[in-house]
């Protein structure tokens, strides 16, 4: 049995930022477990730029952004094991993991930070009819083939879903010589960042069909085409709008799902909306000493925010290990009226700092107000020219405000138009 103060599961941007922060806070015995061959997580295949604008104030590619943290992890002598898969965490914070060199690892941790990231929703979850031809894959899989392996997964491409990876891949495939015929989005708005729609579709004259979906996949061996159709307000295909589009590739960018298998198996409470753990402001889960951050907690729009959140979790884990946790009196947070969820779901009012609440809205709003209420009473109101589901929002609850709250209280955030 190995012993560490903190075991971090996942060596992507979340895991690395959390580990570095915990180290900075005075914890020396830290181990990062990473299932891929290198640290860096999904950033390693995101060779486009746009990372780091908020955190570093400069525009970096994914590998560059990751490399800044990898260098720090090495510099600070934080231990990590790559090609290592965590199989199980137990009630007593023991982590079981495997790799080729150590075999089966049994690691006793004082605190665990969950930073496993997320995965893409597959075709099956959409129930698209048609054949099971090859050439239907998630946008992230295609991204790996192109950027890491150096092979083209197809030449004539239809993309279903306008999530950010789909948008990025529309541009990437075009630059590599493929013809991207269109991006179909089931919803009346894109779930991707506005800047990606401009830079990845508009700049390349790739049409984005809103309220439109793929209803049939054709082709026996390799995919030969898809039938697309417009959908009504209930997202049902409208008869008569079907059209056939010839293609040899269908990329899916239809949502991300936090990878919470380990979390669920140990019985940690999950939020049905985020599909991540229910956490407090330090991102501690319902299981003492287990923290969660990054896309395993809720899917973020920008990695910069993943970094910030993970530093919070790292600090929380360090405080826990060092016995510095303050006494706890919780209030609840809840998204209502257009706000789908809030992270954290609960806040300790004894906390001595300001608290940032992150949330997402359920549809596009123009000239709306974000209203924060405490026990039904408006305490903050902020004007926003535009709110979209693809972009994470936040509000800051100042500590002097927090001090006025009482245990069992409730913060609600809503959109008012």
């Amino acid at each position: 049995m190995l012993n560490y103060d903190i075991v971090v599961i996942g060596g992507g941007p979340a895991g690395m930022a959390a580990a570095l922060k915990a180290k900075e806070c005075g914890v020396d015995s830290i181990l990062i477990l990473e299932r891929a061959e290198t640290l860096g997580g999904i950033l390693e295949q995101c060779i486009h730029t746009g990372f780091g604008l908020h955190y570093f104030g400069e525009e970096l590619s994914g590998p560059e952004y990751a490399d800044r943290f990898i260098s720090l992890v090495n510099e600070k002598n934080i231990e990590y094991k790559t090609d290592t898969m965590a199989l199980e965490i137990t009630e007593n914070n023991v982590v079981y993991a495997v790799n080729k060199t150590d075999g089966l690892l049994e690691i006793q941790a004082k605190a665990i930070i969950l930073a496993m990231g997320c995965r893409e929703r597959p075709r099956g979850a959409l129930n698209i009819a048609g054949t099971r031809a090859s050439g239907v894959m998630s946008a992230g899989t295609a991204q790996k083939y192109v950027n890491i392996d150096g092979y083209m997964p197809g030449k004539k491409v239809v993309i279903l879903g306008s999530g950010d990876i789909g948008l990025i891949m529309a541009r990437r495939m075009t630059l590599e010589g493929a013809e991207v015929k269109c991006v179909c989005e089931l919803m009346p708005y894109s779930s991707g960042l506005t800047r990606n729609i401009v830079q990845c579709l508009d700049d390349f004259n790739i049409p984005l069909y809103l309220s439109c979906t793929v209803i049939d996949i054709h082709g026996k061996g390799r995919i030969e085409g898809v039938t697309i159709a417009d959908v009504d307000e209930n997202r049902r295909p409208i008869k008569g709008t079907e059209r056939y589009i010839e293609c040899d590739t269908l990329l899916l960018s239809v949502g991300l799902i936090p990878e919470n298998e380990l979390t669920r198996a140990v019985g940690i409470q999950l939020d049905p909306i985020t599909s991540g753990a229910v956490v407090d402001e330090y991102r501690e889960t319902s299981h003492k000493g287990v923290f969660a951050c990054g896309n395993v907690l809720h899917v973020h729009d920008l990695v910069d925010y993943v970094t910030l959140e993970s530093q919070t979790a790292g600090e929380g884990a360090a405080n826990y290990v060092l016995g510095k946790s303050s006494e706890a009196e919780y209030i609840e947070t809840k998204g209502v009226n257009g706000v789908r969820y809030i992270v954290p779901q609960k806040v300790n009012i004894k906390n001595e700092g300001d608290i940032k609440l992150y949330f997402r809205v359920g549809q596009v709003y123009k000239n709306a107000r974000i209203v924060v209420k405490y026990n039904g009473e408006e305490i903050i109101s902020r004007k926003r020219p535009r709110l979209a589901p693809g972009e994470m929002e936040d509000v800051l609850i100042k500590n002097d405000m927090l001090k006025n709250f009482a245990q069992g209280g409730k913060i609600e955030i809503s959109v008012e138009v």
Partner: protein, 476 residues
């Protein structure tokens, strides 16, 4: 190459026949038009072992179903294939349907089905808590079970190959000549010679038979679509749950699978195209609606994939297992629709009987009856895992995160007798890519491993043979 017997079609029927005949000192070829075994009906069906009360008494279906079902547990044990004796329930929602249950019970008794019993509503809800409150009664059949049909097929071929059978892939039989008491079977490029042919070509049985001028068989592909749900809802059904049967089949069932998922289906639609295994959104929503009549808490949220298979329906409505009228050295094994999987072990014995009545075959003294159990890391205890990785570190690297499948298991699948040659072949042998992400993460790693082990460039690896390529040329 000269064979005593050539079996056309490596589905569960052809493969079990090959294994059964490999007990004897005869030269056997198992020819398959696809890149792998179990590529037709055998990979896309309900994966259940029927008790045997459906078929008409006196029919070949009735006889072979009951016999096959009785043989299945032992066979699966020998071939290290998962089989679970979960039993089945036919649920009645009205008095009329309750009467149907009584008819099925009587028919089952005549067919020799053991242990049939009618459960009242209380007993039914007791054993199947998620069943619709409106269910009135059910026919309980304890001898029914669930099995993984492609795993059974793969295991049968592996065992047959270990016992000397030649498994010939990508050989689509295009012509059969008969002269001097011998068949020449050709795919247009290569020819094999054989004394006997066993036609186990599933929905293509009629086309293969017509190559010797036998036009007595007419196969109608009857399409069945299915939905597979995540393991998180695998416990919604404890047994295979049928609704009352209709003319088109046994209706939509809800059943656990041996891997712990939940399977809904099949629809039944007679079609023309024997290649058409596409699904339609209308049918899939219909399946869900009907399945919800049995288990109301089902939703689309848990569906991880859908697929379709074709049953080889023949107008005769019974299995056709006999020498052709055109040539008695050509044995048709046709019309093997449901309960074909359940009957398969008995069909293999039945066909063996026909062959042995014609050939003087000696039993082999060195026949290996058991197939070595593949490593299944996910089912092991941590101590077993520790010991395994110490012996071979490849078992310490997880490739498929959702199903916890190791590199070692994938290498085993590729290097097995009649091993995997494509991504779907690895998936069926190991479950890599069958989990909730459906190969999103591990797909590219499986492609890499296949390319490395088979010594080809990664853009030569296919999803399932033929033109199902995955990658094109290198990027710029």
């Amino acid at each position: 190459m000269k064979y005593d017997v050539a079996i056309v079609g490596a589905g569960v029927i052809g493969s079990l026949i090959a294994r059964e005949l490999s007990r004897y000192n005869i030269r056997i070829a198992l020819v398959e038009k696809c890149n792998d075994m179990a590529m037709g009906t055998s990979k896309a069906n309900s994966a259940i072992v029927h008790a045997g009360f459906d078929a008409k008494p006196g029919s070949l279906k009735a006889k072979l179903n009951v016999e096959g079902t009785a043989l299945m547990p032992e066979l699966c044990k020998k071939l290290s294939v998962p089989f679970k004796p979960v039993g089945s329930l036919v649920v009645a929602f009205s008095d009329e349907e309750t009467n149907t249950l009584k008819e099925l019970l009587e028919r089952g008794k005549i067919n020799g089905v053991p242990g049939l019993e009618i459960y009242d509503s209380d007993k039914l809800h007791d054993v199947e808590p998620n069943i619709n409150d409106e269910a009135k009664a059910a026919l309980w059949a304890p001898s029914a079970g669930i099995v993984c049909p492609y795993e059974l097929t793969i295991a049968a071929v592996e065992n047959a190959v270990v016992n000397g059978v030649d498994f010939i892939r990508n050989f689509e039989v295009k012509s059969i000549e008969y002269s001097d008491g011998e068949f020449s079977v050709s795919d247009g490029k290569e020819t094999i010679n054989t004394n006997y042919i066993i036609n186990a070509a599933g929905v293509y049985c009629d086309e293969i038979a017509s190559l010797i001028g036998d036009t007595s068989i007419h196969t109608i592909p009857r399409k069945g679509e299915y939905m597979l749900c995540d393991k998180s809802v695998g416990k919604l059904a404890n047994h295979t749950i049928f609704q009352c049967p209709s003319k088109m089949g046994k209706g939509i069932l809800v059943t656990p699978t041996v891997d712990g998922n939940l399977l809904l289906g099949p629809s039944a639609l007679d079609i023309e195209d024997k290649n058409d295994v596409s699904t339609t959104s209308e049918t899939l929503s219909e399946i869900l609606e009907i399945a919800k009549k049995s288990v109301p808490s089902l939703t689309t949220r848990e569906v991880i994939t859908s697929f379709a298979g074709l049953r080889a329906h023949c107008s005769k409505n019974d299995f056709i297992i006999e020498p052709s009228e055109k040539n008695d050295k050509f044995i048709n094994v046709a019309g093997i629709e449901s309960p074909g999987l359940s009957s398969a072990p008995a069909i293999a014995l039945y066909v063996k009987g026909i062959i042995l009545s014609k050939i003087n075959a000696e039993i082999k003294s060195d026949f290996i009856e058991e197939r070595e159990e593949p490593v299944r890391f996910r089912h092991m205890t941590n101590d077993e895992r520790k010991a395994l990785i110490e012996k071979n570190p490849a078992y310490g690297r997880i490739i498929c995160r959702c199903e916890t499948i190791t590199e070692g298991e994938i290498l085993d699948a590729i290097h097995a007798p009649a091993g995997a040659r494509d991504v779907d072949g690895v998936k069926r042998r190991t479950r890599a890519g069958m989990g909730r992400c459906q190969g999103g993460f591990c797909g590219s790693k499986v492609v890499e491993l296949l390319a490395k082990e088979l010594g080809v460039e990664i853009n030569k690896i296919t999803k399932c043979g033929g033109n199902s390529k995955i990658l094109y040329e290198r990027t710029k």
